[in-house]
Symmetry: C2
Subunit: 323 residues, 2 copies
Amino acid sequence: MAVSEFTLIERYFRDCGAKRSDVRLGIGDDAALLECPPDAELVATVDTLVAGVHFPEGSPAASIGHRALAVNLSDLGAMGARPAWALLSLTLPAADEAWLGEFASGFTALALAHSVALVGGNTTAGPLCISVQLLGHVPRGGALLRSGGKPGHIVFVSGTPGDSTAGLALEQGRLSATGDAAKYLRERFLFPTPRVALGERLREFASACIDVSDGLLGDAGKLAQASGCGVDIEFDSVPVSDALVEAVGDTTAHTLALTGGEDYELCFTAHPDAIARLRREMPPEQWGYRRIGVLVATPGARVLAGDASVMDFSHSGFRHFDP
Amino acid sequence: MAVSEFTLIERYFRDCGAKRSDVRLGIGDDAALLECPPDAELVATVDTLVAGVHFPEGSPAASIGHRALAVNLSDLGAMGARPAWALLSLTLPAADEAWLGEFASGFTALALAHSVALVGGNTTAGPLCISVQLLGHVPRGGALLRSGGKPGHIVFVSGTPGDSTAGLALEQGRLSATGDAAKYLRERFLFPTPRVALGERLREFASACIDVSDGLLGDAGKLAQASGCGVDIEFDSVPVSDALVEAVGDTTAHTLALTGGEDYELCFTAHPDAIARLRREMPPEQWGYRRIGVLVATPGARVLAGDASVMDFSHSGFRHFDP
């Protein structure tokens, strides 16, 4: 039996996410009413996931719900912002209640983990497409920007990029691996961990920050460009997981880490003088980040081999409309 | 030649919309940074247009750009809010530059008219689907809600609902009409006028408000339900345009006005004691609204004929997943 749009939204999304006292009015009117904290700037982002583009057709609904929010949490993390309110626009081919229930559970679990309230949204019939708008805030003037880096600043990345892209390849049957490594990599694609706490804490130390969604090399290049710099990344310094190395070998692992995409890690820079305090107050082994290179005056993003020669990486990021 | 996602966004959307001094950081970083006015509540809404659902395949791109923003402006109008910042999520099958240019021009013209800045967005390959998130603000505690009505409050509607639905039928060849009437009706569908100024001004007079997007009868019913009331609408009081009457006749015109949808007019209520001042300070002929009925204690939405008998309207609103 088909159910109406209104009933759908009502049933699955009214109690989705965290309860927050700064939500004056949530789902149910023409728009949400929200209370911004004083002395804060509002931070706003939107990201869309399309079936067959951002996830394989037939992906688990819980993963789609998780990822739709995670990609936006990652954007706010990269600004050093604290997430607060989400709006969800869900286009789906049919009112499949089992699918909706799983989608909502994946979305809700992550929303609760980050105290995000779902305050609005709409549901439409059409090809599967999920758009999430995420709002949050940051102390006035305190946001991390892409543009704050300078030549000489050290470049770091969190986590182990490349895992997600290998996980996707496993999901799609383009890569074969078994056991715990395969399971781990799949999980990294299906349920990425946005680095929100890391981003918020980095406001104290980082000079610039970007989230790694289109491939580390491409995104580090975007940070460098926004900062009026170039970036040199040391191939051997790029962190890779044991699972990724087990699945694809060491060299391919590093290559995927640089070019994969969908990692939702943070790439950030810090002034050399800030590094000692950064390492002391935010121990890398606890916060999970690693030095991978340095900003330089020469424009462009380069990868350097062990002998300091420039390596060729022609594929630097995922571009939807590229030939 | 295909162009990259980044170039697309850069070219068509970087200078889209109004320049606002409260935009600390617009498109180009991981998220936008915005300055909320003090003593205001943030108002947030999202709406999605899907090809073949909300507009016919092959609709003019300028109309799609206009409507994608208009539907959200209408939501903010219904809250009595002032729009400020938009984020655009655009999924389109191919990087058609002519289409993008027209879409952007339709979006921009309306954004400029309402001083809305485009502060973020993303472009994705996929089936044509446009999601716009609109943010604005309203003096704290001053928003118009659906829930403020009481039995005895008078019900009004702006404009001439039904025109848009007839315009859509003309676009789709399901209705035939010619001349100025047809041209006018088509325009009402392609380029609806969100009643933002009306909504903002109504904060002083209205007890409740909703935007008419799913059909006047259904939306008046939703306002009544949110207010814990029912609503009686007088069939003959529902305003209809001369063009609509010319195209479909008087009775069908009134029926379409009650059930059509996509009108983006405002349906609002006011306490009987406020009516005289409302009419004096906001003359109906200037602001374009008309009394159509009254809130009552009995739940439900009814349409009354001239002899006060209840008319049968089984189709009360556009529900995407209804059988």
